[in-house]
Amino acid sequence: MDNYIQALKADFEELLGQFQRTDSVRYENFLPIWRNLDFPSLFYGKIVPNEMRIFCRLALATAYQYFLPPYTFQIRVGGLYLLYGLYHTQLASPKEKIRIALKDWEEVMKFQQDAANAQHYDVVYILRKLLSEKSFYFAAMPKQLNYQSKKKPLRNEVCEEFRERPQRVKDLISMDTLEEVMNVQQHYEKMKAAISATPGQLDSAINFIRKDLVSQLRSTMMEYHKLEEQQSRDTVPKSGDGDNAAGEGSSEQQECSQRAQLLASIKSKSYGHVLEASKSRRHRQVEMDTSGSGTDPSQLVLFRKKKRPLSLKARTKKNLIDKVGTLKQEATEFTGPGMMEENSKENSKKKRRFRW
C-alpha cells in the first residue's frame, strides 16, 4: 500500500500547484481544478473493503501534511479543500476519518483564526463543516505506527514551491549551522596559525576571512527579523474597517483584529484586487498572497536546536555494553524485547509478482 504514497503526493502537488497559480484561496477556484483532474476517480475500482479502507487512510494521511506548516497559508487552504474533497468522495463505508494529531491542533486553531480574521469565510466554513460532521479522529499521531525496522523510511520531503518563504531563512540559519560555521572557522584559524611563519600566530598575509563571521551572521539575521517586524507594524492601517468593530475588549483582542487587518491588507495589496463593498459577498473576494498568514514574524523562531536521538543499537550499547564488559556477547544480540524477523517478503513460490 505504501507504494501509492509517491503517486498520491505527485497528484496532490499537481492539484495544489494549479491552485497556487490561481493566486486565490477561494473554494470556487479550487473546485474546477479538482474536477478537471478528475480527482473523484482516485477511489474507483474493485477493491476489497479492507484494502479500500487502508487506501483511503493513506490518501487522507498524505493530504493532511499539506494542511500544516511549513506550507504557505494558501497551500494549507488547498490542503484543507483537498482533505474535504477526499473525505467526501472516498468510497469506504463508513467514511474513513481524517486523523488529526494533538501536537497539530494549535496550528489548526490558529489557521482557523487567521482565516476568520482575514474574512476567508469559505475556508472557515469548510473546516467547521468537517469538524461538525465528525470527520476527524482526535489522535496521538497523524498515522498509525507499526514499527518496521527493516523497511527504509520514505523521505518525507517538503515541496519547496509550497513552503512558507520566511522559514527558508530560518532553516538556513539554525543554531546547528551557526555552530558548524563557528567550528569550521576555528579549525581554519588553527590551520592557518599552524602554517604561519611565526608559529602560533596568524600570518596576516594569508588571513582573509572575517574574524567575527558568526556574530555578524547572527546580527544580520536579527536585523532582518526586526525589519520584518517593523514593516508589518507599519502596514497596519490606522483606522479600522468600518464593518469591523475593532478596538473593543482586551488588548489581546485588539492585537487580533489588527493582525486580521494586516493580513487582509497584505493580501489585497499584493494582488491589487479591488475589495468588494457588499459584506454579503466578502467571502468571495479574490485575494491571496502566497505568503499568507504564516508570515507573522512573531512566529519566527530563529534558533532552534535539533538534537539527533541515538539509534536503538547505540542506546542499547550505551545502556548495556558500556556497563557490563563481560556480557558483550549477549548484549549485542539483545535488540529489544523479543524482536523478530520483520521481513514482509511474500511467498517466494508465487511466480509473477506485481512490480511497483
Binding site: Y4, K46, H88, F138, A139, L145, Y147, G338
Partner: protein, 387 residues
C-alpha cells in the same frame, strides 16, 4: 528511558508535565516518545469542545447559526456559503465507480489501474486462492451500540489499537508478520487484553493419550500454566489473578539487577489499566505466556473514541484483524481440521501423521473403544483453529 521509571502506577498523569504528554516522534514515522496515556486523553479533552467528540449528530441549522454569530454573517451569506461549499459538487456524478478509468491524468489512478489488471490476471490463474489470507472483521462492529445505555463506551474514552504478532513457531512464519489487531479501551485492564489474545500454545495439550483419548481436553495448557506478563517501558506486568500464578518476570528482574543492567520494575497486570501506562506508540513491546511463547506487541494508535466506533463496552477488547492461517487437514478425509498427531503408527500412511477426531477414532479404536495395534497419539492444535 526516563519515563520508564514512572510507568505503571495510577495518578502519574496528575503531576505529569502537559507538554511531555503531547506525543511527538522519537523516530520519524516509526515510533513516538513515551507519554502517559491518560494525560494525553485529558489534554485532548481540555482542548476540544465536547460537541466535537460526542456521539450526537450536530444539527446543521444550529451549527450554521452558531457560525453566523461567530463570524457576524448574515443569513443570506451563510446560505450562499452552504451552496458554494456543498460537497455534492465534489463527486463525479453518475458514473460507474467499480471501474478504474484508463487514460487518467492522475498517477495514482494509473498505478491502481496497473494493479487491478494484474489482479484480474491472477484471478483467472488461482480463483480459489483469492483473498485466502485477507480477513476482514473490522466492519462487523463498526457503529455497534449496546441496548443497555450503561454499556455505552463513554464519550471521550481512549481507544488503543494493539498489534499482537505471532511468535516464529514454524519456518513458514519467518518472513511474514502474522498478527492480530485488537482495540482496547483506556479504562480496561491489561489482563483483559491478555484474555483476548488467542494463541495456539494456550490450547496445546502436552502428553501422549493413545490409551485415554477422552482425557486429553482436560489438560489444556491455558488452565495449567497461568502465568504471563506484558513488558512496557521497563515494567513487567505480571498476571497474578490466580493462586497458581507466579511472577515469571521475577527471575529476569533479579538477573538484570545482579548483572548491573538498568533496573526493571514489576506490577500487576490485573491492577493496571491502559490509561495508567507510559508507552511509546509504534514501539515493540512484549507479551510472554506459557513460559516461553513470546509475542511482540505494538501499540499502533491511541485516540479518542469516535461516533462510528463500536460503542458497546462488552465487545472490547475488539478483534479487528486476524491473519488467516493455512489449516492442516486430516490426512484421511482431507476435510476437517486435524486434532491428533500420531507417531509410530502402523495404520498411518506416514510418520508423523495428522487426523481429525472422527477419523482418528474410527481408524484406531474398535466399537468398545479399545486401542487397535501400537501407536502413540498426541493432541494437535492447528494454528488455523482460530480462523
Amino acid at each position: 528511558m526516563a519515563a520508564a521509571a514512572s510507568g505503571g502506577g495510577a495518578g502519574d498523569g496528575d503531576r505529569a508535565d502537559a507538554q511531555e504528554n503531547v506525543p511527538t516522534y522519537e523516530w520519524e514515522d516509526k515510533n513516538t516518545k513515551a507519554f502517559h496515556v491518560a494525560a494525553f486523553g485529558r489534554l485532548w479533552r481540555e482542548k476540544l469542545d465536547p460537541a466535537l467528540y460526542c456521539y450526537q449528530d450536530t444539527e446543521e441549522d444550529a451549527e450554521h447559526a452558531q457560525l453566523a454569530r461567530e463570524l457576524e454573517l448574515s443569513e443570506e451569506t451563510m446560505e450562499e456559503l452552504r451552496v458554494i461549499c456543498s460537497p455534492d459538487s465534489l463527486t463525479g456524478g453518475d458514473v460507474r465507480t467499480d471501474v478504474v478509468p484508463h487514460d487518467s491524468s492522475l498517477k495514482t489512478v494509473r498505478l491502481r489501474k496497473r494493479k487491478q489488471d494484474y489482479k484480474d490476471s491472477l484471478r483467472r490463474d488461482f480463483p480459489a486462492k483469492q483473498d485466502v489470507f485477507a480477513s476482514e472483521l473490522e466492519n462487523l462492529a463498526i457503529g455497534r451500540r449496546p441496548m443497555d445505555p450503561e454499556l455505552l463506551v463513554p464519550e471521550g474514552e481512549i481507544i488503543l489499537t494493539v498489534n499482537v504478532l505471532y511468535p516464529v513457531i514454524f519456518e513458514a512464519f519467518k518472513f511474514c508478520r502474522h498478527h492480530m489487531t485488537l482495540q482496547v479501551m483506556g479504562s480496561q485492564k491489561l489482563s483483559e487484553l491478555r484474555d483476548a489474545i488467542c494463541c495456539v500454545s494456550d490450547l496445546q495439550v502436552y502428553g501422549e493419550f493413545s490409551s485415554t483419548p477422552d482425557m486429553a481436553p482436560e489438560f489444556i495448557s491455558k488452565d495449567l500454566y497461568k502465568s504471563a506478563f506484558f513488558f512496557f517501558e521497563g515494567v513487567f506486568y505480571d498476571d497474578m489473578r490466580y493462586p497458581e500464578c507466579t511472577a515469571i518476570s521475577k527471575s529476569t528482574i533479579e538477573w538484570a539487577k545482579s548483572h548491573d543492567f538498568p533496573t526493571y520494575r514489576s506490577a500487576k497486570m490485573e491492577e493496571t489499566t491502559f490509561n495508567d501506562l507510559v508507552v511509546k506508540i509504534g514501539y515493540p513491546y512484549l507479551y510472554c505466556h506459557q513460559g516461553d511463547c513470546e509475542h511482540v506487541v505494538i501499540i499502533t494508535d491511541i485516540r479518542l473514541a469516535h461516533r462510528d466506533d463500536c460503542l458497546d463496552k462488552n465487545l472490547y477488547p475488539l478483534l479487528i484483524y486476524k491473519h488467516r492461517m493455512l489449516t492442516r487437514k486430516c490426512s484421511v478425509c482431507n476435510l476437517y481440521i486435524s486434532r491428533w498427531l500420531t507417531t509410530d503408527d502402523h495404520l498411518a500412511p506416514m510418520d508423523p501423521c495428522l487426523f481429525c477426531d472422527m477419523c482418528f477414532r474410527t481408524l484406531h479404536y474398535d466399537k468398545e473403544g479399545n486401542k487397535l495395534g501400537h501407536f502413540l497419539a498426541y493432541p494437535y492444535v492447528d494454528p488455523g483453529a482460530f480462523n
